[in-house]
């Protein structure tokens, strides 16, 4: 008797304990479902945009270039379809149905504009009513994102935005009894349990179960997991209504990959596969997406178009049989092709090098986690035209070198930076020979000897003392030895292995004579010159050695761009920026990265230096640029070639673009190429493609232009053949006249003197 009651007690205890455990487990699951589903917000990547193209009368851009930009944005060419997102071309005219877009400074509704072109310029803009428009913005090109784990990307949509035919087709295929079941389908569950034992996978999950599986569970298939999934599905159904569950599901489903980017949710899938908002996808397109749910890789319409088409037609048939679509809709949808968007695959980004720069600048101000999950919108300075010009000029040149056996393997590498000289905005960045490669970014991280690129700092230091140095001051390019205690003697040689005696300062820079620069730099004082290098914007430590003057300092192409930026903008330093604005996902402004300027040099010496840098292109080491660009552009720049020709550089600027090009080997072997032979042609070809504006300098008050006879370096005149106009700081020009300035000149001088005297006399007389 005692034993019997002991058994019953044990049984009761066990049952009670099991019930309690089950209850506790259910409670725990309930807690998880509620807290996670409630608190669950999809991790949304920060979305990164290029600069928006601003169209206005006078803009130098060809119709074809605007069309290219529109295609990149996924706009379709006429026939007009829907209320936005298309364009139509006529001779000299372009009609565009702009999509709505939320900018940093507010929302811009969809609108229709017509752009008129003539001779590679925009001549006018009109709205749909024919009224003149001053300015129109094309939405900026999305150029990538900063993604959450697994590079998951999605665009959230509301259920109300999703067309009925998509939802009905989805339910017809995935879960017919969705609106009536309690989270699971008992027959399907029975089949699934059976399949577990029979070792053959079976579907049969409801939409609720699929969601639970994606949200909370690992993909292993065990009985316990199946049970947990079931309980959680029921709990989910208890707490949330069907539409909430469906909406979450629509945003969660996986639709395959764009290279390394995972496409999630119908919102992004519609954009990625059809270049459309989900609200405007057709019955056929909806069926294609629904067909992919079961096997996104298997039914990938890009890789397996036939299979995907068959699957789509199967979905259409089912939808028709279920009454989700009419037979007419079925017939029309079945007749069409896949209708995929022609936009090229982009992966997480087509511009990894530029995005690296953006990401680094963002990390100063934002948490990495916020960047990957909060759906921030980042508006950058990338100019896709400049970027593609930079990429193609570099790869073309490197391909030429590859064909020449002497350059060996691995081949030469290169990097390009393009900025706006006035604002310091970075417009393009190429980090190596493969612009799609995500990794070592030479534009930011390759520190290479700057060579002669540093020389402008020496000449700037000299020209800041107009009483001692003008562009014509003779500089000694004789053999030069620098002795300092504890260091070997420094004897810089010239590129042509010759010395050139006394040469005018501007020629010493134009021809990049080393001995002259070394002598001038040490005369001025190494520390003084290096101080100016820092003021130009180089922040890394500089060793206070004389050899640093000739570029024994390692800089990245971006640092070189910063240095030349200060020269190009007239002595005003602006930190190079890749970001303009950041907003929340909804478009609320968070931060601006404003234009900041600091005047670090007086305008006069910068003006004189720029004139000398123009001589580099007109008659110096960068003469070869003439092959690509007309002399009248007045390009200013400097070539750089380092010891044994390991590095080839060119840095220069026009009126509207500044560019730095570097070419060399990663392992630092001698490339046997000069800056003029390797980097300059890349720069020239890139700029030619961008049709740059001429360099028009604002002459400061303290600078005068004087005609000079180059032979004697004295004031020339009309009888001195070959006289040139040279800028001087006020009062520093030579007074003496060249012997060639003959009687005629002295006569003119006499007139001027008489005029001056008469004026003075009259002024005294009338007491002005």
């Amino acid at each position: 008797m005692a034993r019997r009651s002991g058994f019953w007690r044990f049984l009761r205890f066990t049952l009670l304990a099991t019930a309690l455990a089950t209850a506790l487990f259910t409670l725990y699951l309930d807690f998880r479902v509620r807290s996670e589903f409630e608190g669950r917000r999809f991790a949304l990547p920060a979305r990164i945009y290029a600069r928006p193209l601003e169209l206005h009368a006078g803009l130098r851009i060809a119709q074809a270039e605007v069309v290219e930009e529109l295609r990149g944005l996924g706009y379709r060419e006429a026939p007009p379809e829907g209320d936005s997102g298309w364009f139509s071309r006529r001779d000299g005219q372009l009609e565009i149905a702009l999509r709505p877009f939320v900018y940093w400074d507010g929302a811009q509704p969809a609108k229709r504009i017509t752009v008129f072109f003539d001779w590679g310029k925009v001549t006018a803009l009109r709205d749909a009513g024919g009224a003149e428009l001053a300015l129109a913005r094309l939405e900026p090109l999305p150029i990538g994102g900063i993604y959450p784990a697994g590079n998951e990307d999605r665009v959230l949509v509301r259920l109300a935005e999703v067309p009925k035919h998509l939802v009905q087709a989805l339910l017809a295929i995935e879960d017919r009894s969705f609106y009536t079941h309690a989270g699971f389908d008992p027959r399907a569950v029975a089949r699934a349990v059976w399949s577990l034992t029979s070792d053959r996978p079976q579907g049969g999950s409801t939409i609720t179960q699929q969601l639970v599986k994606n949200f909370f569970l690992t993909p292993e298939r065990t009985l316990r997991r199946k049970f947990t999934e079931l309980v959680m599905a029921v709990l989910l159904e208890l707490h949330y209504d069907k539409n909430e569950i469906l909406e979450t599901y629509l945003n969660e489903i996986y639709f395959g990959n764009d290279r390394d980017r995972a496409i999630h949710g119908v919102g992004l899938a519609a954009q990625f596969y059809f270049g459309k908002e989900v609200r405007s996808i057709s019955v056929a397109e909806a069926a294609l997406l629904v067909g992919m749910v079961r096997g996104p890789g298997h039914y990938d319409p890009h890789r397996h178009p036939t299979r995907a088409l068959e699957r789509r037609n199967f979905v259409l048939r089912e939808a028709r049989d279920q009454g989700a679509i009419t037979p007419e809709q079925y017939a029309a949808a079945r007749a069409g092709g896949l209708g995929l968007s022609k936009k090229a695959a982009m992966g997480t980004t087509p511009y990894p090098a530029f995005l690296q720069l953006v990401h680094r600048q963002l990390r100063r101000d934002y948490d990495e986690k916020d960047l990957r999950t909060e759906g921030l919108r980042i508006f950058t300075t990338l100019d896709p035209r400049a970027q593609s010009a930079a990429e193609s000029a570099l790869s073309k040149r490197l391909a030429q070198f590859d064909r020449d056996k002497r350059f060996g393997q691995p081949g030469l590498e290169g990097a390009v930076v393009v900025t706006d000289p006035q604002s310091g905005e970075v417009q393009a960045l190429v980090g190596g020979r493969d612009p799609r490669f995500r990794g070592y970014n030479r534009a930011l991280d390759a520190a290479r000897p700057a060579g002669s690129l540093l020389k402008p700092a020496i000449y700037l230091t000299a020209l800041s003392e107009p009483a001692k140095y003008t562009l014509l001051t003779p500089i000694d390019d004789g053999p030069f030895v620098w002795k300092s205690r504890g260091a070997p003697d420094w004897e810089p040689a010239n590129y042509d292995k010759k010395f050139h005696g006394m040469v005018p300062l501007r020629i010493a820079l134009a021809q990049s004579y080393n001995a002259a620069a070394a002598r001038l730099g040490t005369d001025l004082g190494v520390e003084r010159v290096l101080d100016n290098v820092r003021r130009l914007g180089v922040e890394r430590p500089l060793r206070p050695f004389a050899s640093t003057l000739l570029g024994a300092v390692e800089l990245s192409p971006l640092e070189v761009a910063q240095m030349y930026q200060t020269i190009a903008s007239g002595g005003f330093r602006s930190p190079l920026r890749a970001i303009r604005e950041v907003t929340t996902q909804e478009g609320r402004p968070l931060a601006r990265y404003p234009l900041a300027v600091e005047q670090v040099f007086a305008p006069e010496p910068i003006y004189l230096l720029t004139a000398a840098l123009q001589d580099v292109v007109r008659e110096g080491t960068a003469r070869g640029l003439e092959k690509n660009l007309p002399l009248e552009l007045g390009v200013a720049g400097k070539t750089g070639t380092t010891d044994e020709q390991r590095d080839a550089w060119f840095a220069g600027f026009t009126g509207d673009r500044l560019g730095v090009v570097w070419i060399g080997y990663d392992d630092n072997r001698a490339a046997r190429l000069s800056g003029a032979a390797a980097a300059l042609p890349v720069w020239g070809e890139m700029m030619a493609a961008l049709q740059p504006e001429p360099l028009a300098l604002a002459r400061p008050e303290g600078v005068e232009l004087v005609w000079i006879d180059p032979q004697s370096g004295l004031r020339g005149g009309m009888s001195c053949a070959g006289s040139i106009e040279v800028p001087f700081a006020q009062g520093s020009a030579p007074r003496e006249r060249a012997p060639c300035s003959g009687g005629l000149d002295s006569a003119v001088q006499a007139v001027e003197a008489t005029m001056e005297k008469a004026k003075n006399w009259l002024e005294r007389l009338f007491g002005r």
Partner: protein, 148 residues
């Protein structure tokens, strides 16, 4: 007085041969080193943005005004008026160092626009005073007075 000056000049010029155009000192090999800066006239796009910036600024939205001016500067980076207006906005934002530097930038493009130069120098003076640099402010005011 001007008539007299012209008269004297005419007389003086009679005494010596006139310059002949074909004897210009320019040889084909020597184009002027730097093209001269054309006088500035803004386009309608920039005029519209400038108006918008003024409205924003009047409504107290200085960040919005600055954004509109920067947008305009991307279209016309050499427009000294735009730089000047941006300097004013920075001053009102309390960014006195930026106000001073940007006003100087405006001056670098101002060419012969003497009233604008004077305005810039006055703004520089105010910015310097706001930062406690009274001597610098006085020097700037002198510059403003010398370019009326």
């Amino acid at each position: 007085m001007r008539l007299l000056l012209v008269l004297v000049a005419l007389l003086a010029s009679c005494a010596v041969p006139e310059r002949k155009p074909e004897e210009s000192p320019t040889s084909p090999a020597a184009p002027p080193l730097v093209p001269a800066l054309p006088p500035y006239r803004e386009g309608v796009a920039v005029a519209g943005l400038m108006e918008g910036a003024r409205a924003e600024s009047a409504a107290g939205n200085l960040a919005g005004a600055a954004a509109a001016l920067e947008r305009a500067l991307r279209i016309e980076p050499r427009n000294p008026r735009l730089w000047h207006e941006l300097a004013r906005v920075r001053f009102r934002q309390g960014q006195h160092a930026q106000a001073e530097n940007i006003a100087a930038r405006s001056n670098s493009w101002a060419g012969d626009d003497k009233p604008l130069r004077a305005e810039n120098w006055r703004l520089i003076a105010e910015s310097r005073r706001a930062r406690g640099d009274n001597e610098g402010a006085k020097a700037a005011l002198d510059r403003a007075a010398s370019s009326p």
